[in-house]
């Protein structure tokens, strides 16, 4: 039997004053201010892009993209920097994509979202994403060049001068791979989440092992996300300068990098040195602007492709 509830009766007094509601203001001030914030950002972005485009578009032509620099960066082209950048990111992608994909697969298929292991790895990924780029440069110097390279040298090249223990494209690529690892992981995970469990169930029901299901069903389905992640990683890697400043990038080299322990020229590094250390800034300005525009176009093209793939992938998920 539920006990009857005692009811508190409200007092019988009258509230002496009136409630007078005023008509509302239209909210024009908050709307206007926040819209102004958006417009300011758009305008600034437009100015930056416009300035770079106008400054650099005149310089870009076939010769610019395919010839090496001449006359101390006042003429000629930036082909070696383009080559070096491409070689660098190719090496980086080879290193980062397998590790990133496997990490995402592990997090998604092998662990529960609340387990200690998952949380630990996630903390590591989030913090890796926040490490300053110059710290990566120090790491490349101290670990890859000093420790790993030095170890190679003392094991294989006793006595001879530094072979691996010096700035080299492979070390720069590996440093960048660590830097872009979070990008690949996040993108792959997003793709993994779109895979319906029915497909996995079907694979298991036919007797496939977990490894086989991963290799034959899951990873192929997640490829759009892997591509997106790779492209975003490339775009990021091509633009970062601090990690490669001391791990292999050089301003002027008479050769193209052909061996893993060669140094290399690179677009971003080129921009930095040209902008800060040119003896005659006015003379190099056209080339400088042209180089910046090339890097920017490269970055935007890559991002655009990645966004296209990603939005198609998201639409598929909604319809699934």
């Amino acid at each position: 039997m539920i006990e009857p509830i005692k009811i508190d009766r409200p007092p019988d007094r009258q509230i002496p004053r009136e409630l007078v509601f005023r008509p509302k203001s239209s909210g024009v001030v908050p709307r206007g201010l926040t819209l102004a914030a958006v417009l300011i950002i758009v305008v600034i972005l437009a100015i930056i892009l416009g300035n770079i485009f106008i400054g650099g578009v005149g310089t870009i032509n076939w010769k610019f993209l395919t010839h090496p620099p001449e006359q101390g960066m006042e003429a000629g082209g930036i082909f070696p920097a383009i080559f070096g950048t491409v070689a660098l990111v190719i090496l980086m992608v080879i290193a980062v994509v397998p590790v990133g994909v496997l990490t995402a697969v592990f997090l998604h298929e092998y662990t529960s979202p609340t387990s200690r292991v998952t949380r630990l790895i996630r903390v590591a990924i989030n913090n890796l994403a926040g490490v300053p780029s110059i710290v990566f440069g120090l790491f490349g110097l101290g670990f890859f060049i000093g420790f790993v390279g030095g170890a190679f040298d003392s094991i294989f090249y006793r006595g001879e001068g530094p072979v691996w223990g010096q700035p080299a494209i492979i070390w720069a690529a590996l440093t960048l791979a660590l830097l872009t690892l979070p990008v690949v992981i996040v993108s792959t995970e997003e793709a993994l989440r779109t895979i319906p469990s029915e497909i996995k169930d079907a694979s298991y029901a036919l007797g496939a092992t977990r490894l086989q299901t991963i290799a034959r069903v899951i990873i192929p389905q997640a490829l759009p996300g892997v591509f997106t992640g790779s492209i975003l990683a490339v775009s990021r890697g091509a633009g970062e300068v601090a990690p490669i400043m001391f791990t292999g990038a050089a301003y002027y080299l008479p050769y193209l990098p052909t061996r893993l322990n060669d140094q290399f020229m690179e677009l971003g590094y080129h921009i930095y040195v040209m902008a800060t250390q040119s003896p005659d800034i006015e003379a190099t300005k056209p080339i400088l602007y042209g180089t910046v525009l090339v890097l920017l176009l490269l970055t935007f093209m890559l991002n655009f492709v990645a966004i296209m793939i990603r939005s198609r992938m998201r639409k598929k998920r909604v319809n699934a």
């Binding site: 914030a37 790491f139 000093g146 991963i214 633009g239 930095y272 902008a275 890097l295 935007f300």
Partner: protein, 319 residues
């Protein structure tokens, strides 16, 4: 009918394969640990080697030193002078100044744009604003540094009649541009996550749509927005190329926003090239790197924890 025989599966292969995946998965964790280890390792002489400690022990880096007899003690960063000076204070002031200017610039713009996008913009406008912010985020920092160095500095100098072309204000604004996407994304996410049921409750009480946004949604999302600001600040402190190119790189201690500054990150980038391997200067630069690592680690951890707590709270409500 032919018999179909399935080959037995290799248990060893399966086992090794899964272990291989697991090992790879720890790469991020191992990476973070390695980074800290190998950077700190190069900084160790500051604590362990007596000669290094003499020149650049922790007390020398923090407190005012009397470098010349008879002259007043001061904080100074001049590693390459006859009497090497390794005080970190000027660099700290530089990093702080640049980061604060960046936040002053980025927070109103980033949060304001996020409020507009989440609360006032139509769906079409929202789909235009997002790519704009993503574009801004995709700009390499070396490009922003270039722009600040070549274009922005001249503009500011002409506008304000400054003596120093490259200074904290110049670098701070460019830095702010790099921070805006972070603040925007986190703030916008926080506001759109406020459940519709709360918005309905506010409307049912007679609030107009903009009142709902200003008096209910924004305060409710404030912890998330604050986390975005914290994460943005972490980025501002650690950013290298923009300050390296645009701040003037002079290790001055001053309150003025239009003086040149030298930040932690730019110091490492500028001086590592000419430093002798294993010297005191070398160890100090790695020490600064360790400092940056720990600082950004703590800042990011804090920001992420606040966001995580927020998500939990909202989900608890929705259940």
């Amino acid at each position: 009918m032919k018999e179909i025989k399935f080959k037995p599966k290799s248990k060893l292969k399966e086992f090794l394969g899964e272990k291989f995946i697991a090992v790879n998965a720890f790469a991020a964790l191992i990476g973070i640990l390695l980074i800290f280890t190998f950077i700190f390792k190069e900084a160790l002489p500051i604590f362990t080697d007596s000669e290094t400690r003499e020149e650049a022990g922790v007390d020398k880096m923090v407190f005012k030193q009397e470098y010349y007899e008879g002259r007043p003690s001061k904080w100074s960063w001049q590693p390459n002078s006859e009497v090497p000076k390794y005080s970190l204070f000027p660099l700290f002031i530089g990093s702080l100044k640049a980061a604060l200017i960046a936040m002053l610039f980025a927070v109103p713009l980033g949060v304001g744009a996020a409020i507009y996008s989440s609360e006032f913009a139509s769906r079409r406008m929202r789909e235009l604003i997002k790519p704009v912010i993503e574009l801004l985020a995709a700009l390499p920092s070396v490009v922003l540094g270039f722009f600040a160095l070549i274009v922005l500095a001249t503009f500011i100098q002409n506008l304000l009649g400054l003596t120093f072309r490259l200074n904290a204000l110049n670098a701070g604004i460019a830095l702010g541009l790099a921070v805006i996407p972070i603040v925007f994304t986190v703030a916008e996410d926080a506001m759109t996550s406020v459940p519709q049921s709360l918005r309905d409750a506010a409307i049912a009480l007679g609030a107009s749509p903009w009142q709902v946004s200003v008096s209910m949604v924004f305060p409710a999302a404030l912890p998330g927005i604050a986390a975005g600001v914290v994460l943005g600040f972490g980025r501002a402190i650690g950013e290298t190329m923009i300050v390296l190119m645009a701040s003037g790189n002079a290790a001055i201690i001053s309150a003025s926003l239009t003086d040149s500054v030298r930040t932690f990150s730019a110091t490492i980038a500028a001086e590592l090239a000419e430093v002798v391997f294993g010297s005191t200067h070398y160890s100090v630069l790695f020490f600064i790197g360790t400092l940056l690592f720990v600082l950004t680690f703590v800042i990011n951890l804090t920001g992420d924890m606040v966001l995580h707590k927020l998500k939990e709270r909202l989900q608890g409500k929705l259940r």
